[in-house]
Symmetry: C2
Amino acid sequence: MRTMSNMQPNFSTRERILGVAETLFARHGFAGASLRQVTAAAKVNLAAVNYHFGCKESLIEEVFRRRLDELNRHRLAALAAVITNPQHTLEQVLEAFVRPALEQSMDSSGGAAFVRVLARAYAEHDERLRKFLSDNYGHVLREFAAVFSALLPHLAKDELYWRLDIVSGALTYAMADFGVIKRKNNVSEQSHREQSAQHLVRFAAAGLRAEG
Amino acid sequence: MRTMSNMQPNFSTRERILGVAETLFARHGFAGASLRQVTAAAKVNLAAVNYHFGCKESLIEEVFRRRLDELNRHRLAALAAVITNPQHTLEQVLEAFVRPALEQSMDSSGGAAFVRVLARAYAEHDERLRKFLSDNYGHVLREFAAVFSALLPHLAKDELYWRLDIVSGALTYAMADFGVIKRKNNVSEQSHREQSAQHLVRFAAAGLRAEG
DNA sequence: CTATGATTCAAACGATCGTTTGACCCCCGA
DNA sequence: TCGGGGGTCAAACGATCGTTTGAATCATAG
């Protein structure tokens, strides 16, 4: 049995469920992680899920809502900070997009799993989940797209959206640690993700700048 | 009920199961698609899966094996063809990697779903599946990495692996159509994927060439 | 203290899961 | 023609799923 970093014994029942559910959804998928596994790992009664969240679907949405709001705020704040400088660069905007995800994935309360849950949600073609994400995330993407567009005036709109789509996919995969790259034992999780972000920003900047 | 393109009524029971399973695994995940859904859609008896494949896990592996062998062969053949030309370019090597996946995703027998199944498998952190993929796919990645390395001599090995990881993630997402870009109604599926491949190759080439 | 609402608990619900069974059918070689 | 093996079938297996129930327990206000 692997360690369950997302289980704080002295937290409330509701919060323990959310933390463990996040971890297990990331590890086994939404259909693959049962409420019995979740409640057992969280050391709460099985019925607690339905008592506090109503049903499994609502628990899934709550796992998203808890982190996504925070991530959105950080990303938009970082973007706003960057564009106050009239000479802001493409790399800075990319960092505003990447770094909040990076930081959330390293916070002490175990947000690391959430990035993988997010990647899961992309892979799940479930229409309900996709609509939920679009409703709660779309406006952030649009704001970033506008800033990118101003920085890349030579790029046609269609072309820009294609490339941002590629960046999103690469980011999701990279942050979720799905790739083949395994960090070496002498590299901390923190610096691994830091490198991950730097490589991604450099790569994506070059890709976005490629002549149409 | 959506259409089930992967169901050829006059094929054998075994082949109908494989085709439908591919489609449903892509749509709902491995845990999310039940054998009852598969057999019902394939219009075969429930017990046929266990008769022909033994168990669900073996069916999943067979879905992979059927397409992955072919994809690997096409990719390695395309790579071999490219490097016979001593002046082969980065774009050509990337095309050798991307285009076979593109073509398989458009063949008449419904390989489109397989690319999504592949992306699913990446998202599933299931250790057994990852080992299966590594065993049956790793050597292809290594061959491509060697050619890329020769084309980008200024790039450190570590740096190259980081970037190839990013390319793989972006490719997986792009080919699996997970992104936000929806093709317009006047654009055929074929030309949508063709564009997808071209954008990806251009983007990835620029990203790989970015100075370290 | 007692009463009340919130929370936790063991137990069970019906539905669905993957898998197994044994009878049945069909086709082909002897 | 008969026998047998490959294939299909309806039915059932035990396990596990998400959810519900009603009583036990807790915390807190009167």
